[in-house]
């Protein structure tokens, strides 16, 4: 039986990420889901952007396209439409996927491009030294919000849902079992699937905000977690500062290429 190692460039380890960074936990989950699904690695294409989590491609033994900061979903749109048979996976951080790349995120969700996007949300730009991103919580300290962050942060999943994403889920690095289930669900979903995974950045965000070590940060994210079923019974005030986890949206909606293919079939003159 295949294991996650079969989909990895295992001899590239130890990887580039800091001690306690959750990105490696997601990487293992991704490779484990490939193994669970017994995917042919030739049929998988990973598109990754720039940032800590954009480095996932360095360790995976599949087709990889490493692109510019924020543009992974746009490049992946081309890959997915260029060969609709591929399993297209996109890995981004919160800066990459929702801040510089936020426009591509909402349009990719709206179009329902058939791909799976995994966003590792560590609340800051880890790779460049812990500056604030579009998901940095209000009032928290980062290297560029030394007096407290005054902006309202994005809720990535709500953003994707509002944009029309047909599959939206959230998990945490604390809960790799749930994470794998949700990533697999996203891979099996036809259409745009987004899985947000909360990860600790103990090097920057955790240090600036005195959240302790990686394990303390993971305990905190677990304490903040509320299963979506329970969250539906809670008020907005009660959900303040909580992380709603689980499968948030799962809708049947025809993906972009399936619709476009009907146009091709109706108009094609080459046949």
């Amino acid at each position: 039986m295949a294991t996650y190692k079969d989909y990895m460039l295992f001899d590239k380890l130890p990887h580039t990420w800091c001690a306690g960074c959750g990105d490696g936990i997601i990487l293992q989950s991704i490779a484990a889901v490939f193994a669970e699904m017994e995917l042919d690695k030739h049929d998988i294409t990973l598109v990754s952007g720039i940032g800590c989590f954009g480095r996932v491609d360095d360790y995976l033994d599949i087709n990889c396209m490493h692109v510019t900061h924020g543009r992974a979903l746009a490049a992946a749109t081309g890959v997915a439409l260029g060969n609709p048979e591929l399993n297209v996976l996109v890995t981004m951080g919160d800066g990459d996927g929702t801040t510089i790349g936020g426009n591509h995120l909402i349009h990719c969700a709206r179009r329902n491009i058939d791909l799976t996007a995994i966003i590792a949300n560590n609340y800051n730009y880890g790779q460049t030294g812990g500056q604030y991103s579009g998901t940095t919580p209000t009032d928290s300290i980062t290297s560029t919000s030394p007096y407290g962050h005054i902006e309202q942060n994005f809720d990535i999943c709500k953003l994707a849902e509002a944009a029309g994403a047909s599959y939206v889920a959230r998990s945490t690095a604390y809960n790799p079992v749930q994470m794998r289930k949700l990533i697999r669900g996203g891979m099996e979903h036809k259409g745009f699937a987004l899985i947000e995974v909360m990860v600790a950045c103990p090097t920057h965000y955790g240090r600036y905000n005195r959240q302790g070590e990686a394990a303390d940060m993971m305990k905190l994210m677990n304490e903040q977690s509320v299963p979506v079923e329970k969250a539906r019974t809670m008020t907005e005030e009660e959900l303040e500062g909580r992380i709603v986890t689980g499968l948030l949206v799962d809708k049947d909606r025809e993906d972009y290429y399936t619709k476009y293919k009907k146009i091709i079939d109706a108009q094609n003159m080459d046949k």
Partner: protein, 379 residues
């Protein structure tokens, strides 16, 4: 016998026909004047040939999608103008570094910024060459007729595929919206260059997505095939893996320039008009060619031995052809719809004491033969 049809169409329409004839089957773009007819044509024609048109949220994402589709095995293209061309520079650099072929049609307009959005200019020449940060080289073609728009589109895709690089097609509003008769000859398969594929016996262990040892790129399989493919915009080694060592950075930088500059004779196309016995020569490109040819005819009628060198390829600069003119004539006039972007390049090669005169027009109106001749007479 190849199939051919005669049409009376705009340059922008002929580009779509040329792209499809070259085998392009993917378009991602964002509408912008004066290029939008290309998007509209692609939206109509591509599905009729099994291809895909997608209108992206901006030119940044358009450029990224082109590279993704190309990596998935589809020849891809887009069309844009000034502001959009600026937005494309980021991922144009990605295409250059990752060595992913695609073709960008820039229908040049007056700028900077919004400028006079619907008026022609030829002022993106330096942006075409140096708009992307970091050392690199680029291939750029420039048409002067609707026929060129068809024929050179095919050439552009062939060059992109052969050299595994984005190719720029620097047309302009005049040629884009010019209507004239074009004969569209369906290319024979032997006239279409498709990216080189690895040999059937190449194993994954042997396969390298990149090669820096010669001035030609490595074979490029599509993702989803027999071999795992890896591309990146980071400086990489032959395996496509991150390679930030000083020696590797230097090697990749030289290679990306050399693969174009050292193949300049294969890449560049020029045309001569009455140059053989010329004493006064014009060096020009794009829409300015039309007015310049008339200027040459007027001078010839007056008994002046005038001629013209047309740069069909503007990057890499056809240095040999330009030097041949500079070394032979006493005066060279460079007509162009900018403030001297090509003239500066011509002067770089002027080791012959030739008088180089600029004839520039930048008011958003096509340069006239009279203006070109006036500049000659002023000197």
């Amino acid at each position: 016998m190849s199939k051919s049809v005669k049409k009376f169409i705009e340059g922008n329409n002929a580009i779509v026909d040329g792209a499809i004839a070259a085998g392009a089957r993917f378009y991602a773009g964002y509408p912008i004047s004066p290029s939008s007819e290309i998007a509209e044509g692609a939206a109509k024609e591509l599905p009729r040939h099994g291809g895909v048109y997608i209108q992206m949220e901006d030119e940044i994402s358009s450029m990224a999608a082109l590279l993704g589709a190309s990596l998935a095995g589809k020849k891809s293209f887009t069309a844009t103008s000034g502001p959009g061309f600026s937005l494309m520079q980021e991922n144009l650099g990605l295409g250059i570094m990752s060595e992913i072929p695609t073709v960008i049609f820039d229908v040049q307009r007056s700028g900077p910024s919004t400028g006079a959005a619907t008026k022609p200019a030829q002022a993106d020449i330096m942006q075409a060459r140096y708009g992307v940060h970091g050392d690199h080289s680029i291939i750029a073609l420039s048409p002067s007729s609707v026929q060129d728009c068809y024929d050179l589109s095919i050439v552009a895709f062939n060059l992109a595929e052969k050299y595994r690089t984005p190719v720029l097609f620097m047309t302009d509003e005049v040629i884009g919206h010019l209507r004239e008769t074009v004969t569209e000859v369906e290319p024979d398969p032997s006239q279409i260059f498709n990216r080189v594929q690895p040999g059937e016996d190449v194993t994954q262990a042997e396969f390298r997505p990149y090669s820096f040892s010669s001035n030609m790129p490595a074979p490029m399989p599509a993702v989803g095939g027999r071999l795992l493919m890896r591309t990146t915009g980071s400086t990489h080694d032959e395996k496509g893996e991150f390679g930030p060592g000083p020696a590797n950075i230097d090697r990749v930088t030289h290679y990306l320039t050399d693969k174009i500059e050292k193949n300049v004779d294969d890449i560049t196309i020029t045309r001569s008009y009455q140059l053989e016995d010329a004493e006064v020569a014009f060096i020009t490109f794009g829409c300015s060619v039309r007015s310049t040819m008339t200027a040459v005819d007027i001078l010839r009628a007056k008994g002046v031995k005038a001629g013209m060198l047309q740069l069909v390829t503007i990057w890499p600069m056809p240095e040999k052809a330009i030097r041949a003119v500079l070394s032979k004539v006493e005066t060279v006039v460079v007509p162009e719809m900018n403030l001297g972007q090509l003239a500066g390049e011509v002067r770089k090669f002027n080791d012959y004491g030739c008088k180089v005169i600029q004839a520039n027009r930048t008011d958003g109106v096509l340069i006239t033969p009279k203006q070109i001749l006036d500049r000659l007479e002023e000197k």
